[in-house]
Each structure stands twice: as C-alpha cells, then as structure tokens.
C-alpha cells in the first residue's frame, strides 16, 4: 500500500503547523515553506499521474480505484440499526486523478502569485495551506463522511482569505460566499444521513454495518426496507425519496459549480478576492462542485440521473447562454471572466447530463482545461490590477503597443477560452457538444435541440472576448489616469513564470488531447456503462 495520497493531503497541513510555530516577522521563510510544500505536492501529483494505470479495465466500483488507502476511523454503535462505520478511505480513478494534478499545479502558481503580499503573511499562508490540503482531500475521499468533512473544511479558509485580504466589499462577498455554499452543503448533509442509513451490509456476526463508503453506495448495496433503496415506495408530495435525494445533491453541487440561478455569489466573491484566491476559486473550487456531481450525485443515483437528464441539461444550457450574455454586459474585466466561468461550467453540466462517453470525457476535459484557462485569465486581470488598481474595461485601450507580451498571453487565453481549435478549450467543448447532440440517438436521455442551442454559447463567448480585446488592447494607446502611464510595464519575470506553464499546457492539451483522454478513457467508459446499466436496473425495480 502506498501512502502517496495521504502525503498529498497532509503535507500542507504539516507545513501550516510549521508556519504556525514560526514568528510572524519571518515573512520570507514563511513564503518559502509554503512554496516548498506546494511544490512537493505538485511533484507527488506528477508521480501520481505517471504511475496511474490507465489500461486498467474495472469490473465494478470496488476495483475502479487506484492508490487506495483504507483505515477504520470511527466505529459507533447505532442502537437498533447495528454499527456505523466511518473510514479514512482514499483513492483515485480517471475522473479524480486529473483534478488532483490540476489543483496541485494551480496551488503552486497561487503561492507565486501571492509572493508580493506583505500584510498578515503568516495567517494568509496558514489558511492557504489548510485550503490546499482540504482541496486534495475532497478529490480523493472515497468515504462520504470524509468527503463532507473536507468539503466543509474548505469554506472557512476561503471565507477568511476573501474576507481579510480581499477588496473593498470583501465582508459582503465573503459572507455571501459562505452562506451560499453552506446552504448547499447542508442539503448534501441530509442526503448523506439518509444514504448511510440505507447502505451497508450484514457482517459475519450477523450485525448490520452501515457504511459511508462511496464504493458501497455506488455499487448499490442497499439494505432491505431502507428509505433510499430503489425498492422503497416512500414519496413526499408524490415524488420518490430517491428523486428528492438526487435533487438535494444536485442543488448542493450546483451552488458550488455554480449554475444559473445559483451563481450570484461567484461574481461577488471573484471581484473581491485577491488574485491568487480568484485563481483557486475558479480553477479548483468550482471543480469540486463538478466532481461532486460525478462522484456522488450521478454515480449513486443513476436511475434519477437518467430520469432527470432533461432538466439538468436545460440548467446547463441556461448557464451557458445566460452566463455568456451577462458576461457580455460587464464593464469590469474580472466580473466578465467570472461570468464566463459560469458559462463554461455549464458545458461541464451539459456533458455530464448527456451520459455518453463523449459527453462525460468532454466534461472531465472541460473541467481541467477550464481550470488552466480561467486560472490564467484571473492572473492576467491581476497583472492589470496590480499596476492600476482598476479593472474597468473602458479605462484603458491600445495596450497591445505598450505591453506586447501581456497582450500575447491575453489573446492566447481568450482564444483558448472561446474554443479556438488547437487550444484546450476547443477539445472539451466539442466533445461535450458531440455528446449532447448525440445523446438522443445513443441513449435518448434528452433531445437534440439542447446540444444545438448550446453551440450558440461558443459564439457568444467569441463575441465578448473579441469585443473586449478590441476595446482594451487595440486602437490607440490611452489610459484614464495620467499616472498609470509610468506603471504600464510589460509582464515581470514572476508573472512570466506563472503564465508560461499554463500556456504550454493549454497548447499541449489542445494539440494532443490524448495525453489526458488516454489515461481516463477506461474510467469514463466504465462510469458511463455502469451508470446506464445500473440506472436501467434500478428503474425497472
């Protein structure tokens, strides 16, 4: 048994502890420790990526995961019900592995991006490292309880990172963020309680053991006469309890994703958050919502996923179109990118709802690619903001002549985001659209028009990105304030260091998508197949 995943989770916590002991005036040392810790995490996750066996063809959820570690954590007597078992159970499959790699990379870039921070450095990096440990923990947890703990544990560091180091309206934004996500996670809590009381097995002593193991839940090991088993006849207001559970989970994760109409916390949080935190928020935290949909909502309730594919796809479609249209109306560059995130995460939802292998792999690909692209875009906004402390699009123009390197990166990532072939955004979106349009003929979960209308999303994103390029970067050089003129230097080495890896990855993934699609192929196929077969089986019960 290798302890690779545990190292990935607990290394940052240890680093946070070390920083906690240090006196707060050693700012350089603190920053270095944070950098070293996140770099170690990155190295470990690269080892994970390389050693990940993509050729493995799983037969059931039990052997779908690699690098698994299982240690019993809490065993409780549960009255008449028997035993309650909570494990420290971690492992990765093709869906979570890319997300772990993505988060560790962005975490390193986040530290570099916060390098110039001078205010309350100690507190900042402690919270940052706690956040980074919980993020990885969330992606690798295979025990629902463990997942939930990490999921909740992310909220507090995030709340303070936005609330203390954020912009002028930081307290409003951080509280809004906290309340929205907490509301969502409480919906998840209710379903979690219902699920573990319904899932389990009878052990060799004839005692019923209720478990939080996601593997058991995905395999559908329901106990007899439990509320959430597919045979249960319980219904509230004529809707079966399983549907309610699915809807609750969907709500919880859609708030995190975020999808329209639960997205309103996102622009506020992004605008007020410091650059590094925006980067993590868009790059990694939103993916936790997407990942939760994959791992929990869809895998455990495949029957309802098939039944409700149409409404979910429509929510995805509305997010794509509405997010794009609202982005077009923004005057603040950071808000524009925040809304474009809403639009692009809509593709993730749409691809998942299609339940075809193209759609699902496109959805995973889109999560990774959006992580890189949106991370880079927020860094690019940070570049302008650092120099002028202003983000209004109309306040500058003609930057191309003054800052050519900066303009190059902006153009690259704008085009990647709008889906130019050859860059990573294209692959994800096209796969999702193929999946969505093909869904009607493959499994018939929803009609073709949804996919066709979603294509409009790409056109809308082209419109707002190109329009922004034209307004800010082309034409005559001009700035609103005279004093900004001297500060408009091209990107520094530090900024260069952050942007180049992302740019390289965006190009490589665009040209050779098989680097990512190869290792995850078997997992995605298994995910889709087991979802469809199990879903049909549950429905027939």
């Amino acid at each position: 048994m290798s302890y690779l995943l545990s190292w990935l989770i607990f290394l940052p916590f240890v680093a946070a502890l070390v920083i906690g002991i240090l006196p707060s005036h050693l700012k350089g040392v603190i920053k270095s420790i944070a950098l070293v810790a996140t770099c170690c995490q990155l190295v470990l996750s690269i080892i994970l990526f390389v050693r990940f066996d993509g050729s493995l063809v799983p037969q059931g959820w039990a052997d779908a995961f690699q690098f698994t570690e299982l240690v019993p954590w809490i065993t409780l007597k549960l009255g008449t019900l028997g035993l309650l078992q909570i494990d420290y159970f971690v492992g990765v499959d093709g869906i979570s592995m890319p997300l772990v790699v993505l988060s560790t990379l962005l975490l390193v870039i986040g530290v570099i991006s916060s390098w110039k921070l001078e205010e309350k450095v100690k507190g900042y990096f402690i919270l940052y490292l706690i956040l980074s440990g919980s993020l990885v923990g969330c992606f690798v947890a295979l025990d629902f309880f463990l997942f939930y703990v990490f999921f909740e544990f992310m909220l507090l560091p995030m709340f303070f990172l936005i609330g203390i180091w954020g912009g002028p309206r930081r307290s409003y934004a951080s509280i809004k963020f906290f309340l929205y996500t907490l509301l969502g996670s409480l919906f998840i809590l209710v379903v979690m309680i219902g699920l573990y009381l319904s899932v389990g097995e009878i052990n060799e002593f004839g005692i019923q053991v209720n478990t939080f193991s996601l593997v058991h839940m995905m395999d559908g090991n329901y106990l007899l006469n439990s509320l959430l088993s597919p045979e249960s006849n319980y219904a509230i207001w004529g809707v079966s309890l399983r549907s309610w559970a699915f809807i609750f989970l969907l709500l919880g994760f859609l708030i995190k994703l975020p999808a329209v109409p639960f997205h309103t916390w996102l622009p506020d949080a992004h605008v007020e958050a410091p650059t590094a935190i925006s980067l993590l928020l868009a790059g990694v935290l939103l993916k936790v919502g997407g990942y939760g949909l994959f791992r929990i909502c869809y895998s455990i309730f495949p029957d309802i996923a098939i039944e409700l594919a149409m409404p979910v796809a429509i929510i995805g479609l509305v997010s794509i179109i509405y997010g794009g249209l609202v982005a077009m109306a923004q005057t603040d560059l950071k808000k524009l990118i925040a809304y474009s995130s809403v639009s692009h995460m809509g593709f993730v939802l749409l691809g998942l709802a299609a339940l075809t292998s193209e759609g699902v792999s496109g959805s995973v690909f889109q999560m990774v690619s959006h992580g890189f692209i949106s991370g880079a875009l927020f860094l690019l906004v940070g570049v302008i903001y650092d120099r002028t402390h202003d983000r209004q699009i109309e306040n500058v123009s003609g930057l191309a002549s003054k800052m050519p390197k900066y303009t190059f990166f902006v153009v690259l990532f704008f085009f990647a985001s709008l889906g130019l072939p050859g860059l990573s955004g294209f692959v994800g979106e096209v796969l999702v659209l193929i999946g969505a349009i093909g869904a009607e003929s493959t499994n018939g979960v929803f009609s073709r028009w949804i996919g066709i209308v979603a294509v409009l999303g790409i056109i809308i994103s082209a419109a707002y990105y190109l329009w922004t390029l034209q307004r800010m970067f082309f034409g005559n050089y001009w700035t609103r304030e005279e004093s900004w003129d001297a500060k408009m230097l091209d990107i520094s080495t530090r900024e260069w260091l952050m942007l180049v890896p992302l740019a390289v990855l965006v190009v490589i993934l665009g040209v050779f998508p098989s680097i990512l699609l190869g290792p995850i192929e078997n997992s995605v196929t298994f995910f889709v197949d087991s979802l469809m077969s199990q879903g049909q089986m549950f429905l027939s019960q």
Partner: protein, 478 residues
C-alpha cells in the same frame, strides 16, 4: 413496620452519596465563609467538595428506586452528575471568580444539588421541590452583581418562575386527583376515561419543566437573565438546570406514554420547531454578546427536545452526546466571553480589530463558534450529525411528518446560526478597530481556554469517549 421503613430509608441514603456530599459541603462552605475571608481558600474548598462528590458517585448500572419510589438512581443520572460536577468546577478559573463572595459558591452548590436531584426525582412533590431549589438559587445568583439591571433581570426571572411553578403545583394536584399517586412511574393514564382535565393538568406541569429548559414560549426570561447575571454563573445556569430538567421531562413523558398521547407529542414537536426557529432568528438581531449566545442556547434547547422525543436507543444516545458536548461548549464560550468582559467588551461591535493583539484567543473563539454552529471538525458537528441520524431513523420507522419537518428545520437553522455566531470572529478578524486596544489575556487564561477547545475538537476526531459513555448507559431502564 415503622422501624422497617426507617431502616430502609437509612439504607437508601447510601445511594445519595453525591447529593449528600454536595449538601454537607454547601453548609460547610457557608460556615467557612463567615470565618475565612480569603476567597481563594473558599474556591479551593468549593472545588474539593465537587471533586469529593464526584469521587463517591454511585456506579450502579441497573436503576434503583429509593425512598419508596420517590427517587430513582440510574446510570444516565450518574454520568450526568459527573458532567455537572465537571462543568461547575471550572467556574473557579473564570477571571471574575476572585471577586465573588463565599455565598456565590454556596448558591452554585445548591444549583448543582437541585439539578442532580432533578436527575433522580420520580415524585411530583419531589420534582416541585427540586425545581424550586434550583430556581431560588438561580434568582438570587442572577442578582449577584448587585446592579440595577441585574436586579431587574432577577425580578423578571422570579416572577416568571413563580407563576410557572404555581401553575405546576396546581397541575400536580389535579394529576394526583386523577391518578391517586404522586409517583410518576406508577401512574397509569389509560385508566382515566375522560382525560381532558388531566391533559390540561399535564400541560401545566410540563410547563414548569419547559420553563427550566427555556423552550418557546417559556423562554422570555432567558436573554435578560443571561445578560445581567455574572458570566460564571451563566455558564452553570445554561447547563445544569437545563439538562436536569430535560431528563425529568423525559421521565415524565415516558411515564404518561407520550406515543399513546399523540396530541402531546405534536404539541412538543411544534414547540421544539418553534424554539429552533425563534432562537436562531432572535439571535440575529442581538448586539450584546451574552444575549446572542442566550438566544443560541434557546435554539440548542430545541435540538435537545428533539432528542428526548425519539423513543429509541439512538435518540437517548443522541441526547447524552448532545448534553455532554453542549455543556463543554457552553462553559468554554462563557469562559472566553468573560475574558473579553474583563476588558470591558460586552457588545459585539467592541470586538472589532481584536486580531491584532488577541489573535490566539480569537482563533479559539472562532473554533468554539464553529462548534456551536455545528460544523466539522468540531464535536458540535458530531452531535448534530448524530441527532439528525436519530431523527432520520425515527422517521424511517414511523413515517411521521412532524419529525421530518423538525429535521429539516434543524438542518436549515444551521445556516442562519452561522450568520450570527460568526459575527464575533468576523468582528475580531475582519473589522478594523476604532479604539486602541492594549489589553491582552494572560498565559494561564490561554492555557485553560486551549484545553477546553482541544476537548471539543478531540471529541470530533475520536468520539470513543462519547461512545463509551453511551455504551455504559442502560437505556431500557431510562
């Protein structure tokens, strides 16, 4: 015949070792207070009495009826006695402790005594007596700062308490008239053919208990009293009489067989739901720290009430867990509040910008507030989680819509409670202070606060202790 009874009564005295030590100790402390003027010695004596009482707590696992059924000594009572002693002992560490007179500790001991007897009382008159014992000590202790405001709070408390115990006594007389017994466990309500008047009497009597546990609509005294009473007394008042009265309520409800009396069950469920809703929303508007925590404590009563309404072992376990962690959280939070009170900070807005000098204590405040909200990684999450589990299990077996509503209201109240509990850490960390702040807490205060916070965290990561407590209790007897 008479000698037999006397012998039996004398023999039963041994089961009351905890209460006897407390009662004797309280007398001793009162007399010692006349002679000894050094308050530190009185404090040491107070702690010794509680420790001695905890040492001699009976350890029987079967429940035993003593004094011809007036009192019942059972395992849950024994464990909660230890909890009461443990919670009460810590008040000597409060920064205000050295300013009190010896009578203060006498009154605390009599609250402990009354609350412990609540755990055993099985006779309507004994119940009345122990409620009055705790109430009178509480009325006086509320007024122990000798200020106009606390006098007002004490009067308010006294009037509400007086009315509710008068009604309870009236109710008890009607119950006695119908059942011709004062012993709760011997009552049989099913023999009464037209129970309307009996039901009214039952509500009147339960009202006195609901008053003690501060459930809506008997909560009106709580915020004022908590705000005005000395903070160390509040730490005891929020925990001991409340948990004691809950155990008593549980005993009464199961004696009248609440599941045969669906009206009573629905009445209590609705009260509980209303308690959670009004407690959480009431806290939102508060600007004084102690008042806010008081409303939060009202909401916690709603959760405890849910636990005693579930007739399964999980429900009882959930109650004991909740009681233990609730006690720990409350003692800690009032300890932290009293640290700030020493620096003259009683309003929430006074906490602004404290992170510059008090970031360590601020961090502890944050953790305790998170525990009070009920989020991981604190034991506050474990207890709420276990309680929700018990409620779900009950719902699964009886399919009763009250308990489902109760569950959903409980879960959703967590969001609202986050909003107000987080106000304090929000002020400490996120606001800039208007006033210069030079005061700092001492190292010993930090250590005590840390110990408590660590317990609350540790019980999350390793709930074995809680589990052992639950395993040691014979719930069938309870």
């Amino acid at each position: 015949m008479l000698t037999d009874q006397l012998h039996q009564i004398l023999g039963d005295l041994g089961w009351l070792s905890f209460e006897l030590v407390i009662a004797g100790g309280a007398m001793l402390l009162l007399i010692a207070g006349l002679v000894i003027k050094r308050i530190a010695i009185i404090q040491a004596l107070f702690a010794l009495i509680l420790l001695a009482a905890m040492m001699v707590t009976p350890t029987n696992t079967e429940s035993i009826a003593i004094f011809t059924g007036s009192l019942v000594i059972d395992s849950i009572g024994n464990i909660l006695k230890l909890l009461f002693g443990f919670s009460a002992i810590w008040i000597v560490f409060f920064p205000t402790a050295s300013r009190h007179k010896s009578e203060f500790y006498f009154l605390i001991l009599s609250i402990v005594l009354g609350s412990c007897l609540m755990l055993s009382a099985n006779n309507l008159l004994v119940i009345y007596m122990v409620i009055e014992l705790t109430s009178f000590s509480s009325y006086i202790i509320t007024n122990f700062d000798f200020e106009k405001k606390s006098f007002e709070a004490g009067m308010k408390y006294l009037i509400f308490g007086g009315v509710s115990s008068a009604l309870a006594l009236y109710g008890a007389s009607i119950i006695y008239g119908y059942t011709s017994t004062l012993t709760i466990s011997a009552m049989d309500f099913s023999l009464v053919s037209e129970p309307l008047l009996l039901n009214v009497a039952l509500v009147l009597f339960i009202g006195a208990l609901l008053f003690k546990v501060s459930v809506i609509p008997f909560h009106i005294w709580v915020p004022t009293t908590y705000q005005a009473a000395p903070t160390d007394a509040v730490a005891v008042l929020t925990v001991l009489p409340k948990i004691g009265a809950f155990v008593l309520l549980h005993r009464l409800l199961f004696a009248v067989d609440i599941f045969e009396q669906y009206w009573l069950y629905s009445f209590l469920s609705i009260t509980g739901i209303a308690t959670i809703v009004l407690g959480t929303f009431g806290a939102l508007g508060q600007s004084n720290v102690k008042r806010m925590i008081a409303y939060g404590a009202i909401a916690h009563s709603g959760f405890l009430l849910a636990a005693i309404l579930i007739p399964y072992e999980t429900g009882s376990t959930a109650f004991v867990w909740y009681a233990v962690v609730y006690a720990l959280m409350n003692v800690t939070v009032f300890y932290l509040i009293s640290l700030f009170e020493e620096q003259g900070k009683t309003e929430i807005s006074d906490f602004s910008g404290l992170a510059r000098t008090e970031s360590y204590i601020g961090g502890l405040v944050l953790l305790i507030m998170i525990a009070l909200v009920g989020l991981p990684p604190t034991a506050g999450f474990t207890i709420k989680f276990y309680l929700f589990t018990a409620m779900w299990e009950y719902y699964q077996s009886v399919n009763d819509s009250f308990i489902l509503t109760y569950l959903l209201v409980g879960v959703l109240s967590v969001v609202v409670s986050l909003f107000f509990y987080l106000k304090i850490p929000f002020q400490i960390f996120l606001k800039e202070s208007q006033l210069p702040n030079n005061s700092r807490s001492s190292v010993s205060q930090r250590i005590i606060a840390t110990i408590f916070t660590i317990i609350v965290l540790w019980l999350f990561f390793s709930p074995d202790l809680l589990n052992n407590i639950a395993n040691n209790i014979k719930f069938i007897d309870w």
